[in-house]
Symmetry: C2
Subunit: 354 residues, 2 copies
């Protein structure tokens, strides 16, 4: 096993371990010459401080845990990269703990947080076990642990007021704008695809559904329940498969007239597009289609997809800022940030036929 200990390094340098420690940690009270000598020796012998020993002594680690549960969309992966860059610039390491639904047992998240290896925790994407609907409960249990915590790309749905800080795209406004745009193009029969069962504002899709509903109402229309495409895969909502299967079933059942469909996210919209294609319907000739998120694929698929681009850089930057301020000022008030996305018009939307 390569790697020497601080004690061995101290011996080879002819100094005390405490001096090595000070030199390695860039503390001011070390003779510059001594420091240089120690650093050179550390390099030479490949000395790397043992993080376990280090964090055993220091309560606050310069490590941030990012926890992703269940589905991992390209979007979350992009945000992860940005978080890493931003936090890295501040001297923090980022470790990802991905918890697949199947393997997740009740205590996994709590264990990661309780282990106290991390100076802060970021929940990326949704959290809680959908089946048990325990998000609010988990959120409350986390509030008892005094670890800085931020929800990223999702809000904290634990209740009102929210217990934790969160940074998210403004799902409601983005969806409102998309709907508004379709209305302006002349659409009146707009379907909504990919949502879950309970429209209770507890999830991103529910907020997007709210925006859709409000835009319709502000235009003097109301939601026609027969234009809400039921999801056939409630536990895989944000997927192409769900968009495809759900729309296929809906079309097969003989839906009412419609001239546009809004997908709950880009992946769902791609699936919807495929189902329309298989049913012989052209986009946008026979049906306009929109997504949400602004993934790369929205730009490159055929036809390219009208969507709302999530401002990922802003979201990552804000998340880092909120988290680090919680790290430096414990007990500070929580913040809920909703950042506006940008409507990106592409080939998939057009005025309705005739």
């Amino acid at each position: 096993m390569a790697g020497i200990t601080i004690k061995e390094l101290a011996e080879r340098c002819g100094v005390a371990v405490s001096t090595v420690s000070r030199a390695m940690n860039d503390r001011s009270d070390v003779n510059p010459a001594t420091r240089a000598r120690i650093l050179a020796a550390a390099r030479e012998y490949g000395y790397v401080p043992n993080t376990s020993a280090r964090s055993l002594k220091i309560s606050s680690t310069r490590a941030i845990a990012v926890i992703i549960q269940g589905e991992t969309s390209p979007l979350l992966v992009q945000v992860l990269g940005l978080l890493e860059t931003t936090l890295g610039e501040q001297g923090y390491d980022v470790m990802l703990s991905h918890i697949s639904d199947r393997s997740a047992h009740a205590g996994t998240v709590e264990r990661i947080v309780y282990e106290r290896k991390f100076g802060g925790v970021i929940f990326l994407g949704r959290y809680g076990d959908r089946a048990r609907g325990n998000a609010p409960e988990l959120s409350r249990s986390l509030a008892r642990i005094e670890v800085p915590l931020v929800f990223c790309t999702t809000a904290d749905f634990s209740g009102s007021p929210s217990l934790h800080s969160s940074v998210s795209v403004d799902d409601y406004s983005g969806s409102y704008e998309l709907t508004r745009r379709l209305l302006d193009l002349g659409h009146r029969r707009i379907a909504f695809g990919g949502g879950g069962g309970e429209y209770d504002r507890q999830h991103a899709w529910a907020l997007r559904f709210s925006g859709y509903r409000s835009a319709l109402e502000d235009a003097g229309l109301e939601v026609d329940p027969s234009l809400v495409i039921p999801s056939v895969s409630p536990d895989q909502l944000y997927t192409m498969a769900n968009g495809h299967e759900s729309t296929r079933a809906w079309l097969a059942a003989g839906p009412p007239d419609f001239t546009a469909i809004m997908g709950m996210c880009d992946a769902v919209a791609i699936g919807i597009g495929r189902a329309l294609h298989e049913a012989g319907l052209g986009v946008p000739a026979d049906c306009s289609l929109t997504g949400f998120d602004g993934l790369d694929i929205a730009r490159y698929c055929i036809p390219s997809l009208t969507t709302v681009r999530q401002p990922l850089e802003d979201i990552a930057r804000a998340t880092a800022r909120v988290l680090l301020s919680a790290v430096s000022q414990p007990g500070h008030a929580t913040e809920q940030l909703w950042i506006r996305g940008e409507l990106v018009e592409a080939e998939s939307t057009a005025p309705p036929r005739h």
Copy 2:
């Protein structure tokens, strides 16, 4: 800060810390009644052993580090989830360290490995700094550290024989089969898009290019250099943007005749498809198109994409097996596994026109 220490728990149970430790670690020499009492108390007080202290004592941790560098494709994310499930069943925790290219300085990978927090390390996707071309060097430096190490979805290109174990799809055969299939359909002018500059077998794309070359040669043809689409984004090879921009530039420069294009991976193929579309060329009517990887999008895009599906479950399972056997039998010989992918025919390929 919630969470009590082993000492506090021992006091509340009226036993010594060593007894608590034994009970928590499921050791046999503890009175069942005592153990039960301690476990109950641990639950009640929310006691979670401090991992730092634990791994300071124990050399072998039940934690595996997964290191991803640079681009993160949906494919790697899927493999990550599978690795997590498989290793989780064996009682191992998986931690991801994603290293974005920008922030990666020379020592990052080494540091993670040297920290000795992990019982094993998996490199997922490519490794090394492309700009410096230091993959072989890094690989050799890692060989000096006695940490069980497996390259997953990529081979170890450190030289011959390979220093490390690896598990990967059989890039060469998959590409050979795809080319063979296009030849069987009647194509003779087959372009290859998305490779890097030096065709030196050092990367997945180079192996795929080899398969393409061999299939052509076995059919009595040879590679026409003017049918190799140069990549305009050499540091973002595996992206839709690279496929799109490269093909656009290639088409604009007035390419020779061609009736099919093989994309180096699905993402590149999607970008190629977009460029063809913008140039007024239909797939497969004017040009057949293939990808590689078998991402979800290959199935849902329009037209759906002929590709080679990577056997991700097999790859993840084999990776876990190889790694854990290295953990339990240090010094064991390394293994290089190449697992055959499955050709999936879809709408994007057809016989050439006329």
